[in-house]
C-alpha cells in the first residue's frame, strides 16, 4: 500500500501540457484539408502517445524519454489499407508521439518547480499544519512529556545542522552494560501535516532535550536545532 497524496505542481504541469497538446491538435485539425472525424482524431492522438521509452527516476519522479513510436505504428497498421485514412490521421498520431517530449519537459520542470515552491530543506514544508500534532514516546528513555502549545507554529528559529549519524549511533553505548541505552531521538511526532499540495511525506523524531527535530523524507534526512524546547513535562535539563 502507498499513500496517494495530492501533488499540486505535477498536477498543474500535466494540465498545462494537455492544454498545449489539445490546442495544437485543434489547429492541426483546422489547417488540414482532409478532415477526419473529430473524436476519432482524439483517439488516434491518445494511441499515438503510447511509446517504447527509456525511463529513469529523478527525485522519485519518473522521467520517460520516448524512443519508439509504438502508438503511431499501431495506427498506421490499422489504417494503411483504408483509402485516404492514414493521411488524414497521420499528424494526430505523430502529435501523440511528440507530446511525450512535452511530458518529459514538464516532468523536469515540475521537479524544479516542486523544490522552488516547497523547499525540501525547510521544516515548514513538512510541518505546515501542526494543530493536531502530538508526541508518541518511541523508546523507553522517553519521559512523560507533551508538545508545548504553539511550539511548532514559528519555524523560523530552527537552524539546520549536520546529521552526525555515526556519533549518535555510538555515543549512547555503555560498553560495560550493552542493555543500558538511551536514545537520542526518543519521541515520534505524529499528525503533523505537510504543506498543502506538496505531497511531502516524512517521519519526524524529536530529540531528547526537545530542541532538535530529525525529519526523514523519502530522499533525504534533515536535522534542525532551536533554543527553546518544544516539550513540556518531566524533562530534566
Amino acid at each position: 500500500m502507498w499513500n496517494l497524496q495530492f501533488e499540486l505542481i505535477p498536477t498543474l504541469f500535466s494540465i498545462f501540457a494537455w492544454g498545449v497538446i489539445l490546442v495544437i491538435a485543434h489547429f492541426l485539425y483546422i489547417k488540414q484539408e482532409i478532415n477526419p472525424t473529430r473524436w476519432k482524431a482524439f483517439i488516434v492522438l491518445f494511441i499515438g502517445v503510447f511509446s517504447f521509452s527509456f525511463s529513469w527516476l529523478m527525485d522519485s519522479t519518473v522521467m520517460r524519454f520516448p524512443i519508439l513510436p509504438l502508438g503511431v505504428w499501431i495506427v498506421y497498421a490499422a489504417l494503411k489499407n483504408k483509402e485516404a485514412k492514414w493521411p488524414a490521421y497521420r499528424r494526430f498520431a505523430w502529435l501523440g508521439f511528440w507530446s511525450n517530449f512535452l511530458f518529459l519537459a514538464t516532468s523536469l520542470l515540475s521537479v524544479y518547480g516542486q523544490d522552488l515552491v516547497y523547499p525540501p530543506d525547510q521544516p515548514s514544508t513538512y510541518l505546515a499544519d501542526v494543530t493536531e500534532a502530538s508526541v508518541v514516546p518511541s523508546h523507553p528513555s522517553a519521559k512523560e512529556v507533551a508538545l508545548r502549545d504553539e511550539a511548532l507554529e514559528d519555524l523560523s528559529k530552527w537552524n539546520q545542522k549536520a546529521v552526525n549519524s555515526v556519533q549518535w549511533y555510538k555515543e549512547g553505548d555503555l560498553w560495560e552494560d550493552p542493555n543500558k541505552r538511551d536514545e537520542r531521538f526518543p519521541y515520534l511526532l505524529k499528525d503533523a501535516d505537510s504543506k498543502w499540495g506538496s505531497g511531502a511525506d516524512s517521519q519526524v523524531y524529536i530529540e531528547e532535550d526537545g530542541k532538535g527535530l530529525l525529519i526523514t523524507t523519502m530522499q533525504e534526512q534533515y536535522y534542525y536545532r532551536t533554543e527553546q524546547s518544544v516539550l513540556v513535562g518531566e524533562l530534566d535539563e
Binding site: P140, S141, S165, K190
Partner: protein, 251 residues
C-alpha cells in the same frame, strides 16, 4: 425485430440477476456466527489434525473477521481465524498452538492490525509484554549523505492470568509509527528501500510468570498449523538481553 427485442430484454434481465447474485455472493453482510458444534466441525473440516473439541470464544476484530480460540481433544490450546467470505463463515488460518501473532486484518492499514494469542494454562504465564522494535542504524552514501535511524522500542503489557486467550488491537502509537515508516519507504526508490525490506519494524513478545520472571512457554509454541491466506506476522520470543533499558533506570 420482435425477436431481437426479446433477446435484448432477456440479456438485460440476465445481467441484472448476475449482478445481484455476485453482490450477494461476495458482499453480503455476515450472518450470525456458527454455533459451538458447527464451528468445531468447521475447524476440523479445514484442518483435520486440529482435533478441535471446544470453542472458547468468538471475538470480533472487524465486520467480517473473527478470532476463535479453541481447545482440542488432547487439551491443546489452539487458535483459528474466521472470515466471512462467499456468503459463509470459514476458518481460514488454524494453529494448534496459540503463541502470539500479528493479524493484518486489512493489510496496509496498521490501525486494523490485531495481536492474538491463546496461551496454554500449564505454561503459567501471568503477563505478556509485547514489543515493537526497530533497530538503531546509520547509513552513509557517497561519504556526504548521512542518515540516522533512531532506535525504537515500544512496549504494551497484557495480563493473561484469568483468560488463556485474547486479542489486542495495535496500540495507536504503534500504528502511527508503522505508518510513518510507510511514508518514507515507498517502493519507488525511497531512502531506506534498499536498506530494509518490507517489515520496517519487528514484533516481539515476552511471557512472564507471577514473579515477573522470564519463562519459556513450551506448551504454547511449536505446533502444526494450517494457513489459508490471512496475512500474519510472527512475533519473536524476546530475551531480556534484547531489551534496552534507560541508563538512569535501575533494574
Amino acid at each position: 425485430m420482435n425477436k431481437k427485442k426479446r433477446l435484448w430484454f432477456g440479456f438485460g434481465a440476465f445481467v441484472i440477476a448476475a449482478t445481484v447474485f455476485v453482490y450477494w455472493w461476495f458482499f453480503s453482510s455476515p450472518s450470525s456466527f456458527p454455533k459451538q458444534a458447527e464451528a468445531v466441525e468447521g475447524i476440523n473440516q479445514v484442518f483435520a489434525d486440529a482435533h478441535a473439541s471446544q470453542i472458547q470464544d468468538v471475538i470480533e476484530v472487524s465486520e467480517r473477521k473473527r478470532f476463535v480460540p479453541f481447545i482440542t481433544d488432547y487439551a491443546n490450546y489452539g487458535v483459528s481465524l474466521w472470515v466471512w467470505s462467499r456468503n459463509e463463515w470459514k476458518a481460514r488460518n488454524i494453529s494448534m498452538v496459540g503463541d502470539p501473532m500479528l493479524w493484518k486484518v486489512e493489510e496496509g492499514d496498521p490501525s486494523s492490525y490485531h495481536v492474538f494469542w491463546n496461551i496454554h494454562p500449564d505454561d503459567a504465564v501471568e503477563e505478556i509484554d509485547f514489543y515493537l522494535m526497530r533497530e538503531r542504524g546509520y547509513h552513509i552514501t557517497n561519504s556526504v549523505n548521512e542518515t540516522y535511524q533512531p532506535g525504537v522500542q515500544m512496549k504494551k503489557s497484557v495480563t493473561v492470568a484469568d483468560q488463556s486467550y485474547g486479542v489486542l488491537p495495535l496500540p495507536e502509537g504503534w500504528s502511527h509509527l508503522m505508518e510513518s515508516f510507510r511514508n518514507i519507504n515507498q517502493d519507488n526508490g525511497g531512502l531506506f528501500s534498499s536498506m530494509s525490506h518490507h517489515p520496517y519494524v519487528r514484533f516481539g513478545w515476552r511471557p512472564l510468570n507471577s514473579e515477573e520472571e522470564n519463562i519459556f512457554p513450551s506448551k504454547s509454541v511449536n505446533g502444526s498449523s494450517y494457513s489459508g491466506g490471512e496475512r500474519l506476522e510472527h512475533m519473536i520470543l524476546i530475551n531480556p538481553s534484547d531489551i534496552e533499558v534507560p541508563v538512569d533506570e535501575t533494574s
